[in-house]
Symmetry: C2
Subunit: 110 residues, 2 copies
DNA sequence: TGGTTGGTACGATAAACAACGTACAACGAT
DNA sequence: ATCGTTGTACGTTGTTTATCGTACCAACCA
């Protein structure tokens, strides 16, 4: 009589729910910006633990949630790992050129 | 024996002191983004009171200071008014394309 | 010499945020 | 079954932030 196993799914905003100020805020944290830059450079899915962030696991969870809720990353489970990928096409469609210029600036500036 | 009148000048960061995360944070507030959009659209200097912001004077002062310290606006006194202008060339030199894409996105999204 | 205008300084407050620790859940392997 | 791996949930703490009110200041005008 145990309960059903949880599906472990998370909500992602649709493209037309993106809000510019929320995206800018998500990108304005150095740690989150470094996550986005690493995802863009790799071009692939990366697990949370692949980033070797200088914070604890719970803080890491917090930052990935901010990125996901802003629509910047997509997350899905693969075994115990949570794989993250950039929603580049969705972002480019709603905010053309934004991510490109932010990433180019990040490479130079921070 | 009165003291010298204060010069009423404010500090502006040099271009090479711009920090991307600070700029993104400054732009991530709806009120500040609307200020920047209005400045870009007018293409001219505007006094603080020209914006008719739905906040008090002291809150308005706060937001203009955040924008100035990030390097986004330039401020100078003209009589009793403080005139604000966009530092578009400086921003474009350090973060090419960033302001353009943000403003284009702001026009669509907010 | 005042009064008006446009803005700053300072202090207070409430909300949001980044960070942590502990406990726990899902999955895979042993 | 149990254990290690990977990440989440929840509560806490200290900092930052957005907002306001009050007091003030500098410039202009009458």
């Amino acid at each position: 009589m145990s309960a059903e196993p949880l599906p472990r799914q998370v909500g992602h905003p649709l493209s037309d729910e993106f809000r510019l100020t929320e995206v800018l805020h998500a990108l304005s944290d150095p740690l989150r910006l470094s996550i986005v830059a690493a995802l863009a450079e790799s071009g692939a899915e990366l697990s949370c633990s692949a980033f070797h962030l200088p914070v604890t696991k719970s803080t890491s969870t917090h930052h990935f949630r901010v990125l996901r809720e802003a629509g910047i990353v997509r997350q899905r489970y693969e075994g115990t790992a949570r794989m993250n990928s950039l929603r580049r096409e969705d972002l480019d469609a709603v905010f053309p050129g934004l991510l490109t210029s932010v990433l180019a600036s990040a490479g130079q500036n921070q």
